[in-house]
């Protein structure tokens, strides 16, 4: 579901970066990405070899189109006919909510690297439910345990798809 309209919150102004600014920044990002692709393709040989197009031929033109598109978006966002889109891209309240999911998710993924998917998920669900959902510790613990036990049974036992146990294999006592 895409929604680029912002709901105004009661009382107080809606504050946040204007959409056209974010568009311009992302457009620059696209251009940079295009430049990187072009650079990489040139290294591989973007011309014609005796066997036909070189390895970098296709990516070179992809990078070129990308850079041109990025430039086009950049131009349109700042100087386009429809004017600058001054709708707020994301206001403080919304950004807080998004980050409240994103940052824990980042920490979660970081943790997975060390303690594996099951244990990290266990703590992640508990903490999410307690801090953001305001559930009691006991309920969260039970819920997290049930979910992870279910996944463990589903993946390790039933489908026989081993999941990541992390650098420190803490679940090795289970024999999987």
């Amino acid at each position: 579901m895409a929604s680029s309209e912002t709901k105004a919150h009661e009382g107080g102004e809606v504050k946040g970066p204007a959409t056209y600014l974010v568009e311009a920044v992302v457009a620059i990002g696209v251009m940079l990405l295009g430049a990187v692709v072009i650079y990489g393709s040139r290294e591989l040989g973007a011309g014609w070899t005796s066997d036909g197009p070189g390895s970098g031929y296709f990516p070179f033109y992809i990078g070129l189109i990308m850079t041109i598109s990025g430039a086009g978006i950049f131009y349109q966002s700042l100087f386009g006919k429809k004017g600058r889109n001054t709708a707020v891209f994301v206001d403080g309240e919304q950004l807080k909510r998004v980050l409240s999911v994103l940052i824990p998710a980042g920490i979660y993924v970081f943790a997975v690297g060390f303690i594996g998917l099951y244990i990290a998920s266990f703590f992640y669900i508990i903490l999410f439910m307690v801090i953001l959902g305001k559930f009691s510790w006991l309920k969260s613990l039970i819920a997290a345990f049930c979910v992870n036990a279910l996944f463990f049974l589903m993946f390790e036992v039933w489908f026989k798809v081993p999941l990541f146990k992390g650098q420190f294999d803490l679940l090795s006592f289970l024999g999987y």
């Binding site: 709901k7 990405l33 036909g52 909510r97 998004v98 998710a105 998920s121 798809v161």
Partner: protein
């Protein structure tokens, strides 16, 4: 008739206990996926794809396609009850579905939606049954130039027919192509665009991209409005179902028209979303009660749902016969086929008869089972959405992480998923379409191979793309579509433009 024989053989393949069980499991999972935010059709299939590695390809594709049907059905539930489209193609269903729910006619709306979906899908599957072998035979004439021309057509039609800035479509597409080219080059074996980072030798897997873009991105987007979900109650009992079924036949014109729109949009790389909108718009213009659309007209639910399902189903035809997916979910299914070592295209019909006809037979049965399942379990699914988001959200993220990991057993992929999630959030907010990105990621390598083979055959002559009637016409069509925005602007100056009244509401897919 060969096709009917093959079809019955397919039914025999499907109706084994194991496959039937997988069908039901698939449908239930699919509806669940369609109902929950963050797990869309493409995303759900992507996550569950690695689970199917232990099954035979036939069983696997049966389960996955049933998940697909389930998701198609499930998207309607949240649209009608919660005014939240579960899938992009369910947006049009909210226009009349939610008002109907508000008037207490939710059961009627849901029955109409599910039944229309079934009819749309059924018509499409019948079409596939008879058309697929024909298209496959036709496809035998395709050599590398023809294939590249078709890929070109696919991507150009995104640029030409897509909503929103063509630059953004191009940007999205080229990002997909660029991501696809990272890794080992299939022709020369060189490592491309890895910049010395060995981990990138595998390249970017489209599954990770799909899970990140559609899954994590969706959750981040939903988080903006906070964690509240409240919806209308719905009960479906048999009286309502029968009463609604009595009303449906009078809309047969709408159904047929919507099915045809859906089939056309599904086969061409339009997909289910434009199909549902186009069908709604047409119904509104041509119906006697058109002016009442938006206030809770039954027809306003029938039209988009029939079209969306017909489109979603027919998107599988080009995928099977030509290897060109007509929608992001079909693209994921295509990826699955490739992973299992099955080469879609005309040879699939010859070499893997069991697989193809098993799949087609499962489409019939899957839709029927799906209809029965959703009619009986709507209250259950509606109540799942009453589970607080603060429980569902982390569980979905965990599922996505598991899904991302199981693709290549690589921890790095989970990080990529997160990055794709942020990108998905930004792109959705900035109206960058994601479908071209996914399609480019899936098809990028094959399109490039087709291009390079064509160049090898022609020794560098780009004119090979016009060398015979077939290839020439496809290429010309592609170029026309590519420049369509410019052409239509020129045409607009000659005649007055028709206003697209749904311009504002149509989501960028």
């Amino acid at each position: 008739m060969d096709e009917l024989n093959a079809l019955f053989h397919g039914f025999a393949v499907v109706l084994t206990p194991m496959n039937t069980l997988l069908m039901v499991v698939g449908i239930v999972l699919g509806v669940l996926i369609g109902v929950l935010p963050g797990l869309g059709g493409a995303n759900g299939v992507a996550i569950l794809l690695p689970l199917t590695f232990t099954m035979t390809p036939t069983s696997a594709i049966i389960m996955l396609s049933c998940i697909y049907w389930g998701a198609l059905f499930g998207g309607a539930i949240t649209s009608i009850l919660f005014n939240i489209p579960g899938e992009p193609w369910s947006v049009a269903t909210t226009f009349d579905g939610y008002p109907m729910a508000q008037q207490g006619r939710a059961g009627e709306a849901l029955t109409a939606a599910f039944t229309s979906s079934f009819i749309g899908a059924f018509v499409a599957v019948v079409m596939i049954t008879f058309m697929a072998p024909l298209v496959a035979k036709f496809a035998l004439k395709f050599g590398p130039p023809e294939f590249f021309a078709v890929y070109l057509l696919t991507f150009c039609s995104f640029v030409g027919m897509g909503k929103g800035s063509p630059f953004k479509i191009l940007a999205s597409m080229t990002i997909g192509f660029a991501l696809a080219s990272v890794g080992m080059d299939t022709v020369t074996g060189q490592l491309r665009l890895t910049f010395g980072w060995l981990e990138l030798m595998r390249g970017f897997d489209f599954l990770i991209a799909v899970i990140g873009l559609f899954g994590i991105g969706e959750i981040l987007l939903s988080m903006e409005e906070g964690l509240a979900f409240s919806g209308k109650h719905a009960k479906i009992d048999s009286k309502i179902v029968l009463a609604t079924w009595k009303k449906l036949p009078q809309y047969w014109v709408t159904s047929i028209r919507s099915s045809l729109v859906g089939i056309w949009m599904g086969i061409t790389p339009g997909g289910a979303t434009p199909a549902s909108f186009m069908s709604y718009g047409l119904a509104k213009k041509m119906s006697k009660t058109g002016h009442k659309f938006g206030t809770g007209e039954l027809e306003g639910v029938i039209a988009p749902e029939t079209a969306a399902h017909a489109a979603g189903t027919s998107a599988l035809l080009p995928m099977l016969a030509l290897g060109i997916p007509g929608s992001p979910t079909a693209a994921v299914l295509l990826g699955g086929l490739l992973i299992w070592g099955l080469q879609p295209g005309p040879l699939l019909f010859v070499e893997q008869k069991d697989f193809v006809w098993g799949l087609i037979a499962s489409m019939y049965l899957g839709n029927l089972v799906g209809l029965i399942v959703v009619l009986t379990t709507v209250p259950l699914f509606a109540s799942i959405l009453r589970i607080p988001f603060s429980i569902i959200a982390p569980v979905i993220i965990v599922i996505c992480a598991i899904g991302a990991y199981t693709v290549h057993n690589a921890m790095l992929d989970i990080w990529f998923m997160l990055l794709f999630g942020i990108a998905g959030y930004l792109f959705k907010k900035l109206d960058y379409p994601l479908a071209p990105l996914v399609l480019a990621l899936v098809l990028g390598d094959k399109a490039e191979d087709a291009f390079r083979q064509s160049m090898l055959i022609s020794q560098g002559e780009v004119g090979v793309m016009f060398s015979n009637l077939l290839v020439g016409s496809i290429t010309s069509l592609a170029l026309i579509l590519l420049f369509w925005p410019l052409i239509s602007k020129a045409l607009d100056k000659i005649r007055p433009p028709k206003k697209d009244e749904f311009e504002a509401d149509r989501p960028v897919d």
